[in-house]
Subunit: 292 residues, 2 copies
Amino acid sequence: MSSWRGSAVWVRIIVVSGTDFEFDTATAVKPLGDGEFSGLVDAGWTVGDKPNGGYLLGLIARACGEALAEADRAHQDPLAATAHYLRAPDIGPVRVRCAVLRTGRGASQVRAELSQDSRVCVDATFTMGSLAADPPAPYWTARELIDVAPYDECQRLPAARDGSPFVVPIMDRTDLRLDPAVLGFARGEPSGDANLRGWISFADGRPADPLGLLFFCDALPPATFELVLSGWVPTLSLTVYVRARPAPGPLRVTQSAHSIDDGRVDETCEVWDSSGRLVAQATQLAGIRIAE
Amino acid sequence: MSSWRGSAVWVRIIVVSGTDFEFDTATAVKPLGDGEFSGLVDAGWTVGDKPNGGYLLGLIARACGEALAEADRAHQDPLAATAHYLRAPDIGPVRVRCAVLRTGRGASQVRAELSQDSRVCVDATFTMGSLAADPPAPYWTARELIDVAPYDECQRLPAARDGSPFVVPIMDRTDLRLDPAVLGFARGEPSGDANLRGWISFADGRPADPLGLLFFCDALPPATFELVLSGWVPTLSLTVYVRARPAPGPLRVTQSAHSIDDGRVDETCEVWDSSGRLVAQATQLAGIRIAE
């Protein structure tokens, strides 16, 4: 084990864990040495009784940032992250084993496995770097800021709603306000357009940051809810690119499904900050079982 | 090592390796036991002197299919694949180490590392399955078939062209015909619209299949060539979803860039078969250095 004890790294760990923000508490990891970390899957970051995939990705990314700090690289921000979800861990203790694949000047790569009872639950790989606190404007973009109803006209999605077969505890921790135009599914009247949009932030006021963006990119209901009655839509593979550190304020978010073929659906998610900048993009492939 | 010798798996390896198709020869792998395979990075599947990322992904996927066959799972088709590119291997021998993470009835997950001289060059994770030979129509899609000029009006991209700083040998092996409307970059007159489209197939007539789609999803020039003068655009992370086994015939393909921010660009690629079905989708994050 490297000599991280007593170093700036250890101070940072204490500071971050010391916040009262629920996301920070639920993604806290403790070093066990040799790139291994312990964590606790929290009951509050679940959909039904399964942990949310973006939350798990945030927890793993945090361990990878610590592993890089142990390797003397201050690359705490995920730039590109992909997770393959093998089996859902239960609420409770997990281990994250990180292997630093390459350290570079501008970016480093880390592979990680989240396991429970010695069974791998999530396999993930990250390109990690350091995003500027106050970044200059993007060089070029073809992505226009999405058109979404004003914040106050959007409706916050509750954790429990009539007609839903299960409670979604992450909605108590996420302030997700959907555009009224895409809330047909909540009334049992799906619009037929697999495109959700709204505003997102942490319910307890925690600022959005690159780790939070990993979660936000998997926090919306499946866009297919506006299309077809189905059971839950379990993520097989999730990829997130974090493009910039977001400016303060609620984020605009959109989630769209594109094709349902052979029991699988692909969805994309895009997140813009209050300055109108595209700060995160995600794509996922998920299983879907259409109700007859 | 499991008893694959003399089994159907071995027969299959011989049959596949026995084709004269260049892609099959260049992605051939030999089992070394314990999930490890040897392969040869071929000089023909390069851009400049660097192997193409989609070609490497195809080679790794083939090793993963063999690793699953050794584990008695006939899951030879990549459904979701993500590779993080750490360093480009040189032309010559490489090793692929596969770890089967989970075997399931409909899909299995495998993680793999491609290394050269004991240094990891590519880290990849796959969800593997078995795609139907003659699949029923998709349940639903929002992706309209792209509008591309007729095959005969498109222009085949050569391996060497005036003004290009390097030769692109994959273009001798790929029959990539671009729509004349997106060939401004080849005349030194980029259109300003970072969107390429055309037709793609193997030059030697090898049928497109799920492994070939992995390559096709990274075979186009960077869409940013139509936007801005830059050096090569090295892929950091590539994710491909294979949605269906393609029907025979040339494939329609489109590649688009969406945002250039902080020295990185994201691009998506979509591939449709002759029946009009979306058969593959990819997203990648790449580094980009804008020429002054």
